[in-house]
């Protein structure tokens, strides 16, 4: 069987660094999930198998961890994955209406991806940013003190960014 190689050189380098970093190699499992997630936007199975091989650890260790932790989608998400905080401090400042607004603007439900592949939407629990509620996280970035006008602006900027590559 021909070997598929999906991991980028920089991902491989990072994984190799984590391999030697901890007193016990198993500890690097989560960090490896982060590397794969970072490159693909979700946990690509083949890439994860490749990572497991580099780590010289059973693939099942990664699969098991992936099933427990919520940060790593197992299927492709939008280029911009929007996660809206739904917990109390954000709820008190209108998170429910914020989610409804995003659903309306994007024309998708929770867990769905827009047709153009640009956006996906999910609801998450407290992001640790309650003082600037309501809050959403898009990929790695926090967007805080959201208002209707800000949401429009943010989505417009991202659309522009995507168009300009």
């Amino acid at each position: 069987m021909e070997k598929i190689e999906k991991l980028s050189d920089s991902s491989i380098k990072e994984i190799e660094r984590f391999k030697g970093l901890y007193p016990n190699r198993n500890s690097a499992v989560l960090m490896v999930l982060h590397v794969v997630h970072q490159q693909f936007g979700f946990l690509d199975r083949e890439a994860l198998r490749e990572a497991a091989e580099i780590m010289e650890l059973p693939y099942i260790d990664f699969q098991q961890a992936a099933s427990f932790y919520t940060l790593f989608p197992n299927k492709p998400m939008g280029k911009y994955h929007i996660q809206v905080c739904r917990t109390l401090a954000c709820h008190l400042r209108g998170a429910e209406e914020l989610t409804a607004l995003l659903k309306k603007i994007l024309g998708i439900g929770i867990g769905e991806v827009t047709n153009d592949g640009l956006f996906s939407l999910s609801e998450v629990e407290c992001l640790g940013s309650c003082g600037t509620a309501p809050v959403m996280q898009i990929n790695e970035i926090y967007y805080e003190n959201l208002t209707r006008a800000r949401v429009d602006e943010i989505l417009d900027d991202l659309r522009k960014k995507a168009r300009n590559g």
């Binding site: 932790y69 709820h91 008190l92 400042r93 629990e125 407290c126 640790g128 309650c130 600037t132």
Partner: protein
């Protein structure tokens, strides 16, 4: 009282305080040098014991005493895990410390590692804090370049390595034993205690787990002495505390004030009072896991003892403020959703109990509840409490039990009228 001089946040607004040059200019790393070059590890621990510093992660356990529980005279490595998982709803202080004062957190970590003779310290940071992890890693690189991290620190033969480890989005991993299983590469399942981590923690070795804010205090205690520290706060809750103000307040945000500051002062003078001049309905004073205080009970001081006397807890000091328009059933339902979602599922009472709590609260909120449901909810609370491996189960109880206790009429109104109390409604998005 004299104007309080901030300790942890003194330089938080200085530009470039996250860079090592500015941090050193403002007195940084003097405490690390003092500790390693002039104090024995035991003397550092003694100073922290004398300071009365108590854990800022929620439980308030005396920090120095925790360190002193490490077994002596064994040849296993000792580990330090800094708990930067910060996921208790209403809490956002560690994030600000990490993002804006990463060297202060790192210096506290290094001094603590020295005190407990640990050669590898881990900072377990919640996965969502990508920027925080970057800030910490940069701080470590900067500190390494100055000889504050790595081998033979200050020429004294002390080796300390610091590793930033990112979590994967699970509240339960803030619980200390779950943090350890997670750090070992497994799913974040809490472990039964004993053995306590100080005896058998990471990789079965003696391990100390402390909160970010707890450790940020250590450089100041070493610099200025335990007796200075005890002059701040109350006799049993010494030092300052970062209070995280959120919800319906005019000026949400973090406020560092002495332990024991009156809640009324915190809310109305510092955080600018209730939003839009509305009336206060309730305050959840210590993160989502603590009982609510009704508006008539806010003449209480914000320290471990005073809040316990008032029937609630300081917890993580995440103060969530609810104004008169807040539907209390919706509030309880929102938090029940959180605990149901975050239960790791190991213990039946927690897994099933949080599920049924949410289902019943949902039913009541949507006009399909019965009076019997209120008894069922209370029964579920009784069945969870004390019957689980870790405190998450217990933490799911107060939001439900305390709101039923304090706002029973509002629950009953929901049940009989099949709608929210007049004047309350889901919050609006501006």
């Amino acid at each position: 009282m004299a104007e309080f001089e901030k300790i942890l946040f003194k330089y938080i607004d200085s530009p470039d305080q996250d860079r090592i040059d500015t941090y050193i200019k403002n007195g940084g790393y003097a405490a690390l040098e003092k500790a390693i070059t002039t104090m024995k590890p035991e003397e550092v621990t003694d100073e922290v014991i004398k300071s009365g510093l108590r854990g800022r992660g929620g439980a308030g356990f005396p920090t120095g005493r925790k360190w002193s529980f490490l077994p002596k005279g064994i040849d296993k490595p000792v580990y330090l895990c800094v708990n930067a998982d910060e996921s208790e709803p209403g809490t956002f202080k560690d994030r600000e410390l990490i993002e804006r004062e990463p060297h202060q957190v790192l210096e506290g970590t290094l001094i603590t590692a020295y005190a407990i003779k640990c050669k590898i310290a881990f900072i377990y940071i919640r996965g969502e804090f990508a920027y925080g992890a970057k800030q910490l890693n940069r701080a470590i690189d900067e500190a390494r370049a100055r000889g504050f991290v790595g081998k033979n620190l200050f020429g004294k033969g002390v080796d300390i390595e610091v590793i930033v480890h990112r979590g994967g989005g699970a509240y339960i991993c803030g619980e200390e034993t779950a943090l350890l299983t997670s750090l070992e590469g497994g799913m974040g399942y809490p472990r039964i205690k004993p053995p306590f981590p100080a005896v058998a923690g990471l990789y079965g070795c003696p391990t100390i787990i402390n909160n970010v804010e707890t450790l940020a205090n250590i450089p100041h205690i070493i610099n200025r002495g335990a007796s200075w520290f005890t002059t701040i706060g109350t006799p049993k809750s010494t030092g300052s505390k970062i209070f995280c103000m959120s919800g319906h307040v005019n000026k949400p945000g973090n406020y560092e004030l002495p332990m024991g500051v009156p809640l009324r002062e915190l809310l109305f003078e510092h955080a600018g009072g209730v939003r839009d001049g509305r009336n206060l309905k309730a305050v959840i004073p210590g993160g989502s896991s603590v009982p609510v205080l009704t508006a008539d009970k806010i003449d209480v001081r914000m320290d471990f003892e005073s809040l316990a006397e008032a029937g609630t807890m300081l917890g993580s000091a995440g103060v969530m403020v609810l104004d008169e328009t807040t539907c209390i059933v919706r509030t309880a339902q929102n938090l029940a959703h959180f605990y149901q979602h975050e239960s790791c599922g190991q213990c039946t009472p927690c897994r099933q109990g949080t599920y049924w709590m949410l289902a019943i609260l949902h039913r009541i909120e949507h006009g399909q509840g019965t009076m019997e449901d209120l008894n069922t909810l209370t029964d579920i609370c009784d069945n969870i409490e004390g019957n689980t491996i870790c405190p998450l189960g217990d933490a799911a109880v107060p939001p439900v039990r305390s709101t039923i206790r304090q706002f029973r009429e509002e629950y009953e109104y929901h049940i009989t009228h099949k709608k929210c109390l007049p004047g309350t409604s889901p919050a609006r998005f501006e």
